[in-house]
């Protein structure tokens, strides 16, 4: 039983990372209807920016905040420069664009900061959480940050006018323009927010997996799995999906013989396929009620 609780708690902790990534994935998917394959590399790059700021002598939280601002602006610039010109291009052109961005960010990070792994500090420390051996303060902090992020996003989309305008632009661009919403800027804003959320995910996960240009490869896959499981249209679904994937991955790794740590990643892929076959809209995906 203790093994079980232990694995569930550890699953929740890693799940928080996936939940963060999935949130970023969902943000962009909402804005442009595509999955951004470069999301993980964007997060990794942001984390390197935070690392660099700390190298220059900033302490953690100022570096954290500054990185969020830089990532937000960077996301908007990426959209304006790279993806706005592709607005009406077919989906494959977008995919090519995402892959190009992936490769560029990965190599530029490698070139600037090299490929050796680096320590990244945790703002929460790494002692046992509330004296428990099962979950560290950093892991508890990650879960907390994810939940706060989700609450902020909920408030933003539900109760602010910009949030309402973003939802309108995502669901019916033409009608949104007819009430005076600048839909093209709403998309840019979506990119900025996704980039900042990705930066948070990157900075939370770097203390666990160490910082290096390829740190996000596997995690983005889990993030996709979480987003698909929760439903690509729902931020809440993304977070729940993230925790479920984290727990599921740990339990399967522990209890099914022969899987262990090495075969965990295919589980994420298998999960994506199973969800797409059985319930393509995911657990919390939008069901549109329509009267005819």
């Amino acid at each position: 039983m203790e093994l079980f609780t232990n694995q569930v708690l550890a699953g929740i902790a890693t799940g928080a990372i996936y939940a963060c990534m999935a949130l970023a994935v969902v943000m962009i998917y909402q804005a442009i209807d595509h999955l951004n394959f470069a999301q993980g590399e964007m997060a990794m790059f942001s984390t390197f920016i935070a690392y660099q700021l700390m190298q220059w002598g900033l302490s953690f939280w100022p570096a954290f905040i500054l990185t969020l601002v830089i990532s937000f602006i960077g996301g908007i610039v990426l959209e304006r420069v790279l993806f706005k010109p592709l607005t009406n291009a077919p989906v494959l052109v977008h995919v090519a664009g995402f892959i190009a961005l992936f490769a560029i960010l990965n190599s530029v990070a490698g070139l600037t900061w090299d490929f050796t792994i680096k320590q990244f500090p945790s703002p929460f420390g790494s002692s046992g959480f509330l004296g428990s051996q099962l979950i560290s303060t950093h892991q508890a902090g990650m879960v907390g940050v994810t939940l706060v992020l989700l609450a902020l996003l909920y408030i933003f989309f539900r109760f602010t006018r910009v949030g309402l305008a973003m939802r309108a632009a995502a669901s019916l661009p033409e009608s949104a323009r007819l009430v005076g919403i600048n839909t093209s800027w709403m998309i840019a804003l979506g990119w900025g927010m996704a980039s900042a959320i990705g930066a948070i995910a990157g900075m939370l996960i770097a203390p666990v997996v160490f910082l290096e240009p390829n740190m996000m490869g596997g995690i983005l896959l889990y993030g996709f799995a979480a987003a698909v499981l929760g439903g690509l249209t729902s931020p809440l679904g993304a977070v729940v999906g993230g925790f479920l994937v984290g727990i599921f991955e740990n339990l399967v790794g522990t209890y099914i013989p022969g899987i262990g740590n090495e075969l965990k990643l295919p589980i994420a892929l298998a999960l994506i396929i199973v969800v797409l076959v059985i319930k393509p809209s995911g657990l919390f995906g939008r069901k549109i009620v329509q009267r005819v």
Binding site: R161, S171, S175, R177, G180, I181, N182, R286, I288, Q290
Partner: protein, 236 residues
């Protein structure tokens, strides 16, 4: 004084030209209707005014040239467009749809009182304000679309076939409200209709379009009483 002046308007769907040099003007405070058969270019005219389709020519709203402006900036000048199919945000609530209509307005307090006014105009919407707009009946959705457009506090309202798919009683109701909006809120209205009889009762001015050209213009009474026009273009 004309509020909207349209000169030599030509519009294109890809290679196909849909409007061939349309010309007309709207007088402030009036209701004008565009009549004509399917495919005559009525919807295209409305879409060209809001720059939702490639067009050439000259469109002037209160002395300002609209050519080259984006749809959203044209809307911000005070032109509300209720499109064909109503453009309802079906996955949002009735209240959110109304909020969206006023999304460009900075005066938050008056927005709340305007929403109350919309509920006075359309009591049915009040009963359903937390409901998803997609669950409303066709008539209710059309009322919501008009209310959403009014939330902009528009100077000019463009309506594309508001009677489409609605029961006759509901249409009567809706047109009654449109008349009231025109009189009380001083909103100039340009309405496209296939139901000519109905539109001519509401409007003071009318233009008949055939294959992208205006073939007849006049007061609503003139058009109504012109036997030839009625038989060949309006079909009643």
């Amino acid at each position: 004084m004309s509020m909207l002046k349209i000169n030599d308007l030509r519009a294109y769907y890809g290679q196909v030209q849909a409007l061939h040099g349309l010309e007309f003007a709207l007088t402030e405070g009036t209701v004008t209707t565009l009549l004509g058969a399917n495919g005559a270019g009525k919807t295209t005219t409305l879409r060209a005014i809001c720059n939702m389709i490639r067009s050439t020519g000259n469109i002037e709203f209160e002395g300002k040239k609209l050519g080259g402006m984006s749809t959203e900036s044209i809307v911000r000048l005070g032109i509300a467009h209720v499109p064909q199919g109503r453009g309802t945000f079906t996955n949002m609530t009735v209240e959110e749809n109304l909020q969206l209509g006023a999304i460009t307005r900075p005066d938050k307090k008056q927005i709340a009182s305007d929403i109350e006014r919309m509920y006075d105009h359309f009591p049915r919407l009040k009963q359903r304000y937390t409901q998803q707009a997609g669950t409303l009946s066709g008539g209710e959705q059309q009322m919501l679309a008009v209310a959403r457009a009014l939330m902009l506090r528009p100077r000019l309202m463009l309506l594309d076939e508001p009677s489409f798919g609605l029961a006759p009683l509901i249409v009567r109701d809706l047109f009654g409200i449109l008349g009231k909006i025109n009189r009380e809120d001083k909103v100039t209205i340009l309405v496209v209709e296939q139901n000519a009889q109905l539109a001519l009762e509401l409007a003071q001015q009318a233009h008949v379009i055939e294959t992208g050209r205006i073939v007849m213009s006049g007061t609503a009474a003139e058009i109504k009483n012109n036997e030839d026009i009625r038989k060949s273009y309006l079909g009643y």
